[in-house]
């Protein structure tokens, strides 16, 4: 028998590459149109997913509208969505709210960047070297449970009302968590990936830079996305206590003058900013790591 030929034939059948992305999942033959929506782990049509997302978003707003426009709650207790959106617009156009937004964003960026610059390398080292893990794991695990907000009084004593106090809250709130999460990522890199590199002639340093670090990166960026979300909650707490600017400061001012609409507008703004941050990180992740196997949606 002609050997090359038979190989090619079998190969053609056995080794056809699978579609990577964008391919439409095969239609379920034995069930109705909407069965996928109530079947576990079954992909649903894109348009269906979009509609459900919109519904998910509108439920809280609908509830809010119902309670306020319906008159169940007074405008002082909870202003209507219309009022809040109007207030937000006024705050942006007339009250320099964007300056306060930037003040908060800037503090977060400072704290977050400092945490990342130290935490990411330290985490990678802890996950890869038993020595680093033994040295740092327990103290960091301990520090992780200290609530960042409880440090605020202490930080006021240390830094006064200075900017560095607010940045320090972010660092305390994010650094320890970030380091431990990154350590887990680097510990999870399969040892065989490293062993293969050694048998291909890599030095220890090359294994570290050419295998371990690239293997960690997608997970690290994902972790940063989660951590920056927490940073948002800490900054507001820090600003509520002591600040001359920032979204937290605006909210506190509004409370002093009983302007519930401004409080809700501030909260809404934070939500929107959070969503923007999260989405940017996701897009960034996709662009940076096109090779990562993603769950098909």
């Amino acid at each position: 028998m002609e050997r090359g030929l038979s190989t090619e034939q079998v190969q053609a059948q056995a080794e056809r590459p699978r579609p990577v992305r964008g391919g439409r999942p095969p239609r379920r033959r034995y069930s109705g149109r909407f069965a996928a929506f109530i079947t576990p782990k079954e992909p649903i049509p894109r348009i269906g997913a979009l509609i459900l997302t919109l519904i998910g978003f509108s439920i809280p707003f609908a509830l809010w509208a119902l309670l306020t426009y319906g008159g169940a709650l007074s405008a002082f207790f909870l202003p209507t969505p219309g009022t809040v959106v109007g207030t937000l617009w006024t705050m942006i156009t007339q009250d320099s709210f964007l300056t306060d937004v930037w003040a908060s964003v800037y503090r977060i960026l400072q704290g977050f960047v400092i945490s990342a610059i130290i935490g990411v390398p330290l985490g990678i080292l802890m996950g890869s070297f038993e020595s680093f893990r033994a040295l740092f794991e327990q103290p960091i695990s301990f520090a992780r449970y200290l609530p960042a907000s409880a440090f605020i009084p202490l930080l006021i004593v240390w830094f006064g009302l200075d900017e560095s106090g607010k940045v320090a809250v972010i660092i305390i709130g994010s650094f320890f968590q970030l380091t431990l999460l990154v350590a887990d990522i680097s510990a999870g890199v399969p040892k065989e990936l490293l062993n293969i590199a050694y048998t291909l002639g890599a030095s220890r340093w090359q294994v570290f830079t050419r295998v371990l670090i690239p293997a960690c990166l997608p997970g690290v960026v994902d972790t940063l996305r989660i951590i920056i979300g927490w940073a948002w909650t800490y900054i507001i707490v820090a600003e509520l206590v002591s600040a001359q600017s920032g979204i937290g400061h605006v909210i506190l001012q509004a409370e002093r003058f009983s302007q519930t609409d401004q409080i809700v507008a501030g909260i809404l703004a934070i939500g929107i900013l959070g969503l923007i941050t999260d989405t940017s990180f996701r897009i960034f992740h996709r662009l940076l790591f096109p090779y990562v196997e993603r769950v098909q949606r």
Binding site: M1, R3, S6, T7, E8, V10, Q11, Q13, A14, E15, R16, P17, R18, V20, P190, E192, L193, N195, I196, A197, Y198, T199, L200, G201, A202, Q206, R210, V211, P214, A215, L217, F289, P290, Y291, V292, E293
Partner: protein, 260 residues
């Protein structure tokens, strides 16, 4: 020339309350250009043995000699292919194949040429620029083989490289590997628990005993070449297979405490 000699190698792992002997006084010889397999039931230490040759595990006693020189640690002269998929997901197929060369700063044009040649050898032209996630299991292992061959290793160490593949793909891969070996004549040390695979591929088969792993028998497989999947249907093939099977079966009985 690259003769490989595993010389009275024992590996003992320390364990709480004693020690586990994984390998006991194993001596195996692989001549330059030979295809040698090691078979044994799971847990017989055959992967450990391959890791010793690869330099990833240090023997407790004994040594491994490559061309008379004792090996110390891993090196590019002994490339490995594992059962699990070990392609670097962040590198394209081409970059994966070029990985070993790029570690040694081989010029780009040269790397390119080597990768092109080897990807042609494993019949993956046209897949140079895709990421491993787009490949099937068999294709991934073909890239892994090309990656190792790019280094022109003295010995190719393979640890159940087709173990995770389905039966049809496995046969195709075995034929492809044999075809490659017959043309390149790289020395191969191949570990498997699949007796068919060992007989089909090898010139020499070593059967290891269970816990601790010792060489139970050395068999020369004198089936004519070139071999293809039809070889597996011949009476000679079946005879070799039966010999090895009965040895391994004895071992399994002993392991299970059922030996008579």
């Amino acid at each position: 020339m690259s003769d490989l000699a595993i010389d009275h190698v024992s590996v003992i792992y320390p364990k709480r309350g004693g020690a586990v002997t994984a390998l006991e006084d194993v001596s195996i010889e692989v001549k330059n250009g030979q295809f040698v397999s090691i078979v044994g039931a799971s847990g017989c230490g055959k992967s450990t043995l391959l890791n010793v040759v690869g330099g990833l595990v240090a023997p407790t006693s004994g040594q491994v000699l490559l061309d008379g020189e004792p090996i110390r640690g891993p090196g590019a002269d002994r490339g490995m292919v594992f059962q699990s998929y070990t392609l670097y997901p962040w590198l394209t197929v081409r970059k994966n194949v070029e990985f070993g060369l790029s570690l040694r700063h081989v010029p780009r044009a040269e790397r390119h040429r080597v990768a092109d040649d080897l990807l042609a050898e494993v019949r993956l032209q046209g897949f140079e620029d895709v990421y491993p996630k787009a490949l099937s299991g068999g294709m991934k292992q073909r890239v892994a083989i090309a990656r190792v061959l790019a280094n022109e290793p003295s010995v190719l160490l393979m640890d159940e490289p087709f173990g995770a593949l389905d039966a049809q793909t496995r046969t195709v891969m075995q034929e492809l590997l044999l075809d490659l070996w017959e043309r390149l004549r790289t020395t191969v040390l191949f570990v498997t628990h699949d007796i068919d695979e060992a007989v089909f591929l090898s010139e020499v088969v070593y059967v290891l005993s269970n816990r601790p792993g010792r060489v139970r028998r050395r068999l020369e497989v004198e089936l004519s070449r070139p071999r293809n999947f039809e070889t597996m249907g011949t009476p000679e093939f079946t005879a070799y297979k039966r010999d090895i099977l009965s040895l391994i079966h004895e071992e399994s009985l002993r392991e299970a405490g059922l030996a008579r």
